[in-house]
Each structure stands twice: as structure tokens, then as C-alpha cells.
Amino acid sequence: MMHSTRRGFLRTTAAATAVGVVGLPHIARAAAPRFVIVGGGPGGATAAKYLKRYAPAAEVTLIEANPTYTTCFMSNEVLGGLRDFSTIQVGYDGLSGHGITVIHDLVTAIDPEGKTVTTQGGESVAFDRCIVAPGIDFKYDAVEGYSAEAAEIMPHAWKAGPQTTLLRSQLEAMEDGGTVIVAPPDNPFRCPPGPYERISLIANYLKQHKPKSKVLVLDAKDKFSKMPLFTQAWEMFYGYGTDNSLIEWVSKSDGGTVTGVNTETMEVTTAGAGTFKGDVVNLIPPQSAGAIARSTGLLEGGDWAPVNKGTFESLAVPGIHVLGDASIAAAMPKSGASANSQAKATAASALALSMGQEPPMPTLANACYSIGGPEHGFSVAAVYNYDDFENKLVPVEGAGGVSPIDAGADSRRREMFYAHSWFENMKADCWG
């Protein structure tokens, strides 16, 4: 099978030659390339913004169903009562102001041959290259009794928005002495440390307002992201490991994997630990790339889109790039920061390939913070170089990793400040 980048390159090169465009890379001399970005989360928004920055003459259209995006990052602080919901909402005026055409509509089809995107509202937008950043969808079938309807009773809150508000109101309404069940999925899934930050901040809320309550974690894993750091925070703040712990964690080995739910009895059944009744149940189901990635044929039968990890061009469908949570970036976690970093490489590559130029060799990074308790933050970071021979993003040896376990209270306090600054700057860099 011919590789997609090569094929895409040949086609665009031929086109450039045919119209007699000499003296590239000056884009103004060529017909302005047209890009359509599907999805306005951190990945899609960043790709649109940076395409326009890299090539002001390019025609950039962003199609996103919702007029407002609610960030998953910092939504756990909303759940824990530490942050107002309005602070995790962003609009698209910033992107429109940069000259990006923003269409609020649902994309129903992407035609890679005809090079058009069509929407529910009947719009049809032509592109030279399309960037697909649909985020995640839920595999409801993986848990018996769970569904989109069941999520109105047992919220996942793993796409922020009404689900976040729903879970918060359930926590507020719960009486003291209640049990909050949190059920994280097996890897891979969006935001690997996210469930454990959520557990921390729910425990923090219960400690202050409903101290006879507890969080029961039914996990489909034996290990999780930043595990020693979360465990340390849980011991420091929530009595973890003692008889009075606010958090009880049941691992996969202890049978914690959730296999079914009953929304009428509020019961959760596990693979081997028995059945538990929750007053509030936060079930985070297994995930896959957003539906449009599957219907466009980008997933090759799997749950996530295989891509060239240098250009994020689909290995299944040439001319289409897939980035963020929906793609397989292997070493890079499915995080907002990863999506932002990948979006810049994707924008630069899509631009270069649309003009028959060589795409840059990307150096990417991820830096992600978690809040474990009051004035208590910690981070994970990594820098990645693209290995074009193996099609791998390789973390630089000797760099990256998590906050030191013995860093102390002052360092944890600083990382809380940095986490909140990261959030403000991240929102501005993606949508501002």
C-alpha cells in the first residue's frame, strides 16, 4: 500500500506545477489553500488559529456544533466546588476575529474524494486539506445497563458541560453519610490522571461539607497516572489507608472493573468485588474517537485513528489529518496540552503539504497539572521528537517525568499556582 503522505505529496506537487506556481513558498502567489477543521475543542481550535497565523492568506473554516465549548481541564475544580462553571466556558469570537470562518453546525459527512465537508444544516464546504479533531465518543455498550439515557442518572461528566453541572448538583444534593462511586475506565482514555484528580477534589468537598461520606473507586486498572503522587495526597488530606479514609480504591486485581449498572436501584456491579449501591454514581465508560472519525473511515476498524505521527495525516485516508484524543499518538497522553502541541505540527504540516513542500520535523511536548487538595498541585511533562523511520514520537531521554515525590509543600503550592496559570494561558492560546 502506498503511504498517504507520499501520495498526498505527489498530488499536491503536481497541482502546484500544473498551475505554474513558481517561487513557492510565498503563499500569496499561489491560490490560497483551503482548510476545514472539524471540531472546536483544544485541538481543532488551536489548529485553526495557528493555520491562520502561519498563513494569513489561507482560507480557514472551523465547524463546531456548539456555540460554547466547556473545557474538561479544571472541570474537576467545578465538581469540587472550588471554581465557577462559567470559567471553564469559552466562545469562538477570538477565532472569528482572526479571520477564521466559524460555522456552528454538526458535520455529518466528510468526502475525501470530492474534498467537501457537509453539515446537518445543509452547508457544503470545500477543502484542500481537512483536519479532524472530534475528541471522544463513549462505548456505552461496554457496561451493561449504561447508555446515553443512563448517563442522565449516573453521569460520566467526561465531556464537560451539562454533565458537569449534573454531577455537581448530585454531589450538592447528597446527604452526609452517602457514598459516591467513581468508576474509571481501562487505558487508553481521555486525560489519564483526570479520574484521580476528580476523586481527590470530590473527597476534598466531602471532607469540608459531608465528612461522614466517602468516595468508592471501582477501577478497571491496577495502576494509574501519577499514582504515587495521588496516593500521597490522599494520605495527606483524606486519611487514605486508615479506617477513616474518605477514599476507598478497589483495583482491577481486586475485581473492581465495572461490568454493569442499574439506574433504578443505583447499583453498580463489578467483575469480582460484588455489587455496590451508590448515592451518586460517576461512571466513566470506555471511549473511542468521535463518531465522524469512524464514519469517514479513519479508524481502520479500531477505536482510534492511526496517523503519521509527524504530520498527523491519516494513514487510512490521504489528505485528512486527525489529531488530539481521536488519534493514536502512542507515547503522548490524550490531554488538552498534547492536542494543542499536535495542532501546531498539524497546521504546519497541512500547510506545507498543501503547497507541495516538505513538512517540518516536529518537536512536541505535553505538560499537565493535577490538583490533589488545598494548595496542592503536581505535574507530568515530556518532550517528544518524531522518529520518521519508525513513525514514533519518542520522549527525550533524561527529560520529562512527574513531580518528585519528596518535593515538599512549597513546591506543591507553586504547582497549584502554575496549574491555574496554565489553564488561563491554555484557554487563550487555543481560543483567544
Partner: protein
């Protein structure tokens, strides 16, 4: 999946060179790709430090307009641990000397912006300005906008400057002799309050 991918990138690169030789100026192509490589690399800094290195959060420093030698010094001392850090040691060790130089030139060329910092205590700014004139201005010239071998203080993030001062005072971060003397004098004459007033002043400079 990996197998079919192998080596195709180099193959494409060869094609580009061949094409460039006949149809377009090869030098321009190389420069453009180089520029975009730096753009993408710098893009991995800006979700924390802000677009173009200008942030709006209260603690992460803006890195736009930073003197190149200062940028390189900070990164190298983060790498070897002589400059205390939370995350930046782990990040800085991901970059080579050449990459650091390229990033220093990139961010050095961006104008430093001074968005409002609503957390500034305006009531101490005037006094801070007088203290700064006495203890700081000889090195941090032009209201902290520039100076030889120093970072930008004018409009820098208040919480970041507090952390930096704490690191200097605890001797976690090394000071030059002249800086150490000024810090000692300021502490003797005005205590920690004096530092706080000065930092609020520098953060407020537009």
C-alpha cells in the same frame, strides 16, 4: 502499522529536494522548513507561557522579548538543576543547545506585552517605586524594562517574581555578588515587606 510507515518520510524529503532543484529556489524552501520547525517547537512552550510567550495567568512568567542570553542561561541552569524549578527542569532537559538557541531567538523577537494584573496591590506601588529606584534600578534599568544580563521585571507576573525572590533569599538560586548585597541591604532596611512593595510596583509597570 509501523512497518508500512518506515522510511517514507525520507523518501518524501528526497522528492522535495529534487523538485526544489528544478522548480523553486532550494534555499527558500530550506529556510521555510527550518522556520516552521522552530514555530512548531515554540508552540510546545506557549500553551503554558501564552501565545508568543505572553501569558495572562498570575504565576507562569511571560518569556516574550527575553534577552537571548538570559533565555539560554535560564534553560541551561534548569537543565543542570542549579536553578530551582517545579516543572522547568524536566522540560528544559528535553532540548539541545541548538534548540535552546533557536527558541531564545524566537521568543527574543516577540514584543513583551503587559496585560493588566488585577491581583496587584495598588496601595504599595508608589512606595515600591521609590524602593526600586534605590535598590534595583542600577541593574534593572528603565523601570525594569531592560538591563545587562537581567530578565524583564516591568509587567512580569507578580506571583512568579515572588517565587524567584524566595528562591534567591533561601539561597536555592545563586545570586551575583552585587545582587546579593542589594538583597541583604533591602532586607535589613525594609524586611520582606520591602520586597513585596517592589514586586507589586514592577508588576504594575506598563
Amino acid at each position: 502499522m509501523g512497518a508500512r510507515q518506515q522510511g517514507t518520510r525520507r523518501w518524501a524529503a528526497t522528492l522535495v529536494v529534487a523538485f526544489a532543484a528544478t522548480a523553486m529556489p532550494a534555499l527558500a524552501q530550506a529556510d521555510e522548513t527550518e522556520d516552521m520547525t522552530v514555530e512548531v517547537m515554540a508552540g510546545a512552550c506557549t500553551y503554558c507561557h501564552g501565545t508568543d510567550g505572553n501569558g495572562i495567568g498570575e504565576a507562569i512568567p511571560s518569556i516574550a522579548g527575553m534577552p537571548e542570553d538570559q533565555f539560554a542561561y535560564m534553560m541551561v541552569t534548569y537543565q543542570d538543576g542549579s536553578n530551582p524549578a517545579t516543572v522547568m527542569g524536566r522540560v528544559a532537559r528535553g532540548y539541545t543547545e541548538d534548540q535552546i538557541q533557536a527558541l531564545a531567538a524566537y521568543f527574543g523577537g516577540k514584543p513583551f506585552e503587559r496585560p493588566p494584573q488585577p491581583w496587584i496591590d495598588e496601595s504599595v506601588v508608589a512606595e515600591g517605586k521609590e524602593l526600586a529606584a534605590e535598590y534595583c534600578e542600577s541593574c534593572h534599568e528603565n523601570e525594569g524594562r531592560d538591563g545587562e544580563g537581567v530578565g524583564i521585571l516591568a509587567g512580569q507576573k507578580l506571583q512568579y517574581m515572588r517565587f524567584s525572590v524566595a528562591d534567591f533569599l533561601s539561597e536555592a538560586r545563586e545570586m551575583e555578588r552585587r545582587q546579593a548585597r542589594k538583597f541583604r541591604e533591602l532586607m535589613d532596611d525594609h524586611g520582606e515587606e520591602g520586597f513585596e512593595k517592589i514586586l507589586n510596583y514592577y508588576a504594575s509597570v506598563q
